[in-house]
């Protein structure tokens, strides 16, 4: 037994962050090898927001994500094997190959859906919150979106609605400083995006989104507020992405940050743990997870293609 073993929850957090990181890196590799096609947006460097926020949720709470959704799905409890299968267009994927990366849906773990449309998921989360409140449920909804979504009209309409109707929703803006390819400064003069929430009387916080503990604490406050009938909250998590906007970008440098140990949420978390104890276990976790991820990917790639018979099924429930 390792004397300075990680506390159970810390180990789980680290494991989850590594699972996301390793999944995304593997996806990148598979894309480069031509095993995955389509638009692939990775969240390497943004693991702390996904794990911090989803860790504050109950299993029945719902999450609606955008075009960079893998981290949120994994943090909410999706199985990576079925995620890989979906990314690779296989019949065993979560959506039977019909959705792909941007349209993942794992409602059984509360990850209701992602959308490929910037800000398109925000009203959906509001609707789930409305449903919860009308039906007298205690469930809270979360929308994850990037800083680019804040310039859309839909965002503005949604803040107004969420505030007017005091909906139990938590809006998480992962501000990685890039809207698609260009820096945020090319998209808005607003420097603190949470100012928008203040305008509508929505409580907000702007925090270091690479600090897992900070994200977790802020998310718990926001989720408690929503569950207690206190209405919506807005969390602006300042974070970084270490890849470009999408995989295969010919101008890879655009829209990404250099890998930086100071910013890397995993390195930071590990350092914060080692402050307590000189454990070597974090490396073991990484190694174990990488094996798990490799195996899941290999299995997904050997899975069959979807059955052509299913092509026109599930367009509508029935005619």
């Amino acid at each position: 037994m390792v004397v300075a073993a990680l506390a159970q929850s810390d180990a789980e957090d680290l494991e989850l962050m590594w699972r996301i990181r390793a999944f995304e890196e593997k996806a990148s590799e598979l894309f480069a090898r031509g095993k995955i096609s389509g638009l692939l947006h990775l969240a390497i460097g943004q693991e702390a927001t996904a794990v911090g926020v989803c860790g504050a949720l109950n299993p029945l709470d719902t999450v609606f994500s955008g075009h960079r959704p893998h981290a949120h799905a994994i943090a909410k409890g999706a199985e990576i094997g079925k995620l890989f299968a979906e990314l690779a267009g296989r019949g065993t994927g979560y959506c039977g190959g019909k959705g792909g990366s941007m349209h993942l849906a794992v409602p059984e773990v509360g990850f209701v859906t992602a959308t490929g449309v910037v800000a398109g998921n925000i009203p959906l989360a509001l609707g789930a919150a409305l449903s919860s409140s009308i039906r007298g449920k205690q469930e809270v909804s979360v929308a994850f979106f990037g800083d680019g979504a804040v310039q859309t009209g839909l965002f503005h309409e949604c803040l107004n609605l969420a505030s007017l109707w005091k909906l139990p929703v938590v809006l998480i803006c992962e501000n990685n400083g890039f809207a698609e390819f260009s820096p945020l400064s090319a998209h808005t003069v607003v420097r603190r995006l949470a100012d928008h929430a203040d305008t509508y009387g929505i409580p907000s916080e702007t925090i270091d989104g690479n600090d897992l503990a900070l994200v977790r604490a802020a998310a718990v406050t926001a989720v408690d507020r929503a569950r207690g009938g206190g209405g919506p909250s807005f969390l602006e998590c300042l974070t970084h992405r270490f890849r470009g906007h999408y995989e295969g970008d010919p101008t890879l440098k655009r829209g990404s940050h250099a890998r930086d140990e100071e910013k890397d949420p995993i390195s930071r978390f590990v350092r914060s743990l080692q402050g307590h104890a000189g454990s070597t276990e974090p490396e073991e976790i990484e190694a174990r997870i990488r094996v798990e991820v490799d195996e899941a990917a290999d299995e997904a790639l050997t899975a069959p293609w979807p059955d052509r018979e299913n092509l026109a099924t599930n367009v509508v429930a029935s005619w």
């Binding site: 792909g100 979807p306 052509r308």
Partner: protein, 322 residues
């Protein structure tokens, strides 16, 4: 010249020939590797470019106002699916303004998008909304399929005092075609017979022209002579060219990347059924994207879109009267 180069060339000419032309948006060449060429053009003309935020409703609408104020903006919506965000401004404002004002005010702007199945785009990035736009009077729609046509059509679009939808396709970018040094503006409403033939008329636009030409080549080997009619502009439409070709061949296959129901293929078929029913020796066949959202997975994606093989098979069935 590569089609992608022609896109840049068309933009370059527009900027250099008319100082009122400004470009709004930056994804004329989508996310393809070619897009660095647009970047180079932008560096040469930094004062003629506007990089909008992700706010299609706002910036497409701003293009309308800028056109009213005296610019000739070319606005890029990137992927066709994003035009849905801007439908209120494109279809309820731009299309109506000239009419509602009784001819007082014009909206000389061009709205560009890349449509269609592009490989892994799935349901939210693979639309071909031109059929919907077609049902809204007031928009001109160009659907080039050849680099030279593209340059000529864009010149006319920029000179036009109407809002013009410029429909492009990322799969066209890697195609090649001869482009003479001197290209005059191509008048709207003039179809191009891209290949002459006597047994069957194939109507196709945009990327589907290329696939139809490839299919025609294969069919020629079987002894089926195919005439490929490329309308080049959907609005206005050269109905005469279609009817003439059908009068000659007696058979029509419409290939279209929009969905089947109420797609471009529906209108073309209806026109022929109304005006040339007597010329037809067999039912018109429509080959369009199946009426399901475009699936993500590659084999399913290929299954829903019109492919060369499907065109060949459909062509045979029309000619054989099956």
């Amino acid at each position: 010249m590569l089609y992608a180069e022609a896109v840049v060339e068309a933009l370059r000419r527009s900027i250099e020939d008319d100082e009122r032309v400004h470009l709004m948006g930056q994804y004329f060449l989508g996310l393809t590797p070619h897009r660095t060429m647009v970047g180079d053009l932008y560096q040469q003309h930094p004062d003629r470019v506007y990089f909008p935020p992700i706010a299609e409703l706002g910036y497409v609408g701003a293009g309308i106002g800028a056109a009213i104020a005296g610019l000739r903006p070319i606005v890029d919506c990137a992927t066709a699916s994003f035009t849905f965000q801007a439908f209120a401004q494109i279809l309820n404002e731009a299309a109506n303004i000239h009419y509602m004002s009784g001819g007082q005010t014009s909206v000389p702007m061009v709205i560009h998008y890349n449509h269609g199945v592009r490989g892994g785009g799935a349901a939210q990035h693979s639309h071909s909304p031109q059929a919907m736009m077609w049902n809204t009077p007031g928009l001109e729609i160009i659907t080039p399929s050849h680099p030279a046509d593209l340059i000529g059509l864009v010149q006319t679009a920029v000179a036009s005092n109407n809002p013009t939808i410029w429909v492009d396709h990322v799969r066209l970018f890697d195609t090649e075609g001869e482009v003479p040094d001197d290209i005059d503006p191509i008048p709207f409403g003039q179809a191009s017979i891209r290949r002459e033939g006597s047994d069957l008329t194939v109507f196709a636009s945009s990327w589907m022209v290329c696939r139809s030409l490839e299919a025609a080549e294969l069919l020629a080997a079987e002894g089926i002579s195919v005439e490929v009619v490329d309308p080049r502009t959907l609005v206005p439409l050269d109905e005469e060219a279609i009817l003439q070709s059908v009068a000659k061949t007696g058979h029509l296959l419409v290939v279209d990347e929009c969905h089947l129901r109420c797609g471009v293929s529906s209108e073309i078929t209806a026109i022929v059924a109304e005006h040339a029913h007597g010329d037809l020796r067999a039912p018109v066949r429509r080959l369009a994207t199946l009426d399901v959202p475009v699936p993500f997975s590659a084999p399913m994606e290929e299954f829903v879109e019109p492919t060369v093989d499907k065109i060949v098979e459909a062509a045979r069935s029309v000619v054989e009267g099956r």
